[in-house]
């Protein structure tokens, strides 16, 4: 090596390890709280039912519609429903069902929509056209009605609900992914990959997916909310999760009749939905920043400076 090819100076290039993600999370109070909430929800969904036994299904028609109180042990903490079941236990039980509908539905539409979308956007031409028309078709059916029809034809099982909710949301991901891929395919690093002889799917996987992912993830968190609400709307129409399974959406739908007399039945699962989706949204915004090496530094700023308009390239260059 010639003398002119100087190594970057030691001080200038002092290794600057990116901060560990939990440290980053710790710096962002809001995101940390959101992560804790989501963690609790997940934990509840996973181990809650194990601790509860049959508390969520145990009926006592003599204990119907008890308001939240400390008088009836832990199960009575959040009151009882019309059948005298513990609302707390049902909330816990419902967490699992809710997530086992929402997460697979979101994942399924995310994976299917993104894959088709990126494939369509990357290749363009006829493939793109066909994919977009398929999306048009799905979008032209009002999704709730599609769900109603399908769930009447096939019974409203969890798997069918997941399928139909996922199907209805595929176009959203498809379009987003297609737009991103169409934009990214003309980027230089995609060209670079092609010069190595990389074929389409590896290119999509390596270069388009990681960049489109944060956007898709943001859509997915919004959808997470949408799926929970749709499932609730299906319950409102009587074809959602079927008892004795219980989901938050079903609890809200069934509890709506007691809004005046027993608010806790509908309000508490509603709060659970809101808390979960708001946490997911906040955390998704955080993940979006945290997974982007060029944006990650923002998270290390005090929050008051965070969202400030992007800093000139002089800072990072």
């Amino acid at each position: 090596m010639t003398a002119t090819l100087d190594r970057p100076d030691d001080t200038a290039a002092a290794p600057k390890r990116p901060p560990r993600w939990w440290l980053l999370l710790g710096r962002d109070k809001l995101a940390a709280v959101a992560a804790v909430v989501l963690g609790l929800v997940l934990l509840t969904a996973l181990i809650g039912p194990l601790l509860l036994g049959d508390a969520a299904t145990r009926q006592d028609l003599n204990a119907s519609l008890r308001p939240p109180s400390f008088d009836h042990g832990i199960t009575g903490l959040l009151g009882t429903d019309i059948l005298g079941r513990s609302v707390l236990a049902r909330l816990v039980e419902a967490a699992g069902t809710t997530l086992s509908v929402a997460i697979p539905a979101v994942l399924f539409s995310l994976v299917a929509g993104s894959a088709i979308g990126m494939w369509a956007g990357y290749h363009g031409g006829r493939r793109e056209n066909i994919a977009m028309r398929v999306a048009d078709v799905i979008l032209s059916f009002p999704s709730l009605l599609l769900a109603v029809v399908v769930l009447y034809v096939f019974t409203p099982s969890v798997a069918n609900i997941v399928f139909i909710l996922a199907l209805a949301r595929i176009p959203i991901y498809l379009r987003t992914a297609r737009a991103e891929a169409a934009e990214l395919k003309s980027r230089l690093f995609v060209d670079a990959a092609r010069t190595f002889g990389t074929t389409s799917w590896p290119t999509i996987y390596r270069h388009i997916l990681p960049i489109a992912m944060p956007t898709l993830l943001t859509v997915a968190t919004l959808d997470f909310c949408f799926v929970m609400l749709s499932e609730s709307s299906l319950s409102f129409l009587g074809i959602g999760i079927q008892p004795p399974d219980v989901s938050w959406g079903l609890m809200v739908a069934q509890g709506r009749q007691f809004l005046q007399t027993a608010w806790w039945i509908a309000v508490l699962p509603g709060v659970a939905i809101v808390l979960t989706t708001v946490s997911a949204t906040i955390l998704a915004a955080w993940v979006r920043l945290a997974t982007d090496p060029a944006q990650r530094w923002r998270l290390t700023l005090p929050t008051s400076k965070r969202g400030k308009r992007s800093v000139t390239t002089e800072v990072t260059a």
């Binding site: 002119t4 700023l301 002089e314 800072v315």
Partner: protein, 341 residues
Amino acid sequence: MNPLPGTATAEPEARTGEPALAVEHLSVDLHTASGTVRAVDDVSFSVHKGRTLALLGESGCGKSMTALSIVGLLEPVAEVVGGSVKAGGTDVLTLGRRARRRLAGPVLSIVFQDALAALNPVQPVGRQLGEPFRIHHGLSRREAKEKAIELMRIVGIPEPRARARSYPHQFSGGMRQRLLIAMAVALAPDVLLADEPTTALDVTVQAQIMQLLRDLRAERDMAVVLITHDLAVVAEHADDVVIMYAGNVVETGPVREVFADPRHPYTRGLLDSVPERAEKGKPLPAVGGSPPELSNVPPGCVFQARCPLARERCADERPRLTATGPARAAACHFSEELASV
């Protein structure tokens, strides 16, 4: 303290009267991941009407941030922490937002680098060009448009009346840069800052644009601050030069003198690495390494890590800007040594 306030003020005959723009001890802090860093450190210079001062430096040296501080467009993460910027006798840094807005256009104006991004993609250019007149002169939309068309004619856009209705993307890069310049000089500002106005352009277009700036400077009697990294452009178009490195001024003076006889090793290194001056087939005499990160600026001389002359003293003591000639200064402990080289 800077021993030579206003050192960059070029030749004696131009030094009469108030400078159009006088920047003194300007310091800008940047709040970044690794804490607060000094992006611009005690920068001073001034420029008179009818003259061009070049702020020369590589990316990240703080030249753009200096310009943005002057026109008050710093990003919120950056903050002016010291010094003054006098335009027309008043220190603009002390003005309120409203008062400062009144100066933006008639007194201080700026041309940005990327003309495509700097023009609003969804507005016809005529409307954008007329905007300064609407803001500052309160003209009607129709009157402003007439003014805009006139401006377009001045900067050499063919068929200005028809093209006023076009959108930025319908113009070529050179034309867009002309539009941007037209917008900046619309109100005949006292000071025009041009931030890398030709970087994105082809050489033939670059020549046209620089000629336009030169003509406008003469015609409107403006002081021009030219921010660039291109030595040749500086040599051709500037009267004075301020060379910046890692947020600091390392050398200032009349372009001709500085380039002919650099007194800072960095200036010398830059001049040497121009391929034109190198012998073909031989390695270019490059300045090794890269500039320090702002978070990691050494306590002593900012250039020490890359400096062929660096010695112990450089590590401990930051050299101050010291006069090296009647209107020149350099921030090097060993500038004398360079002169004799």
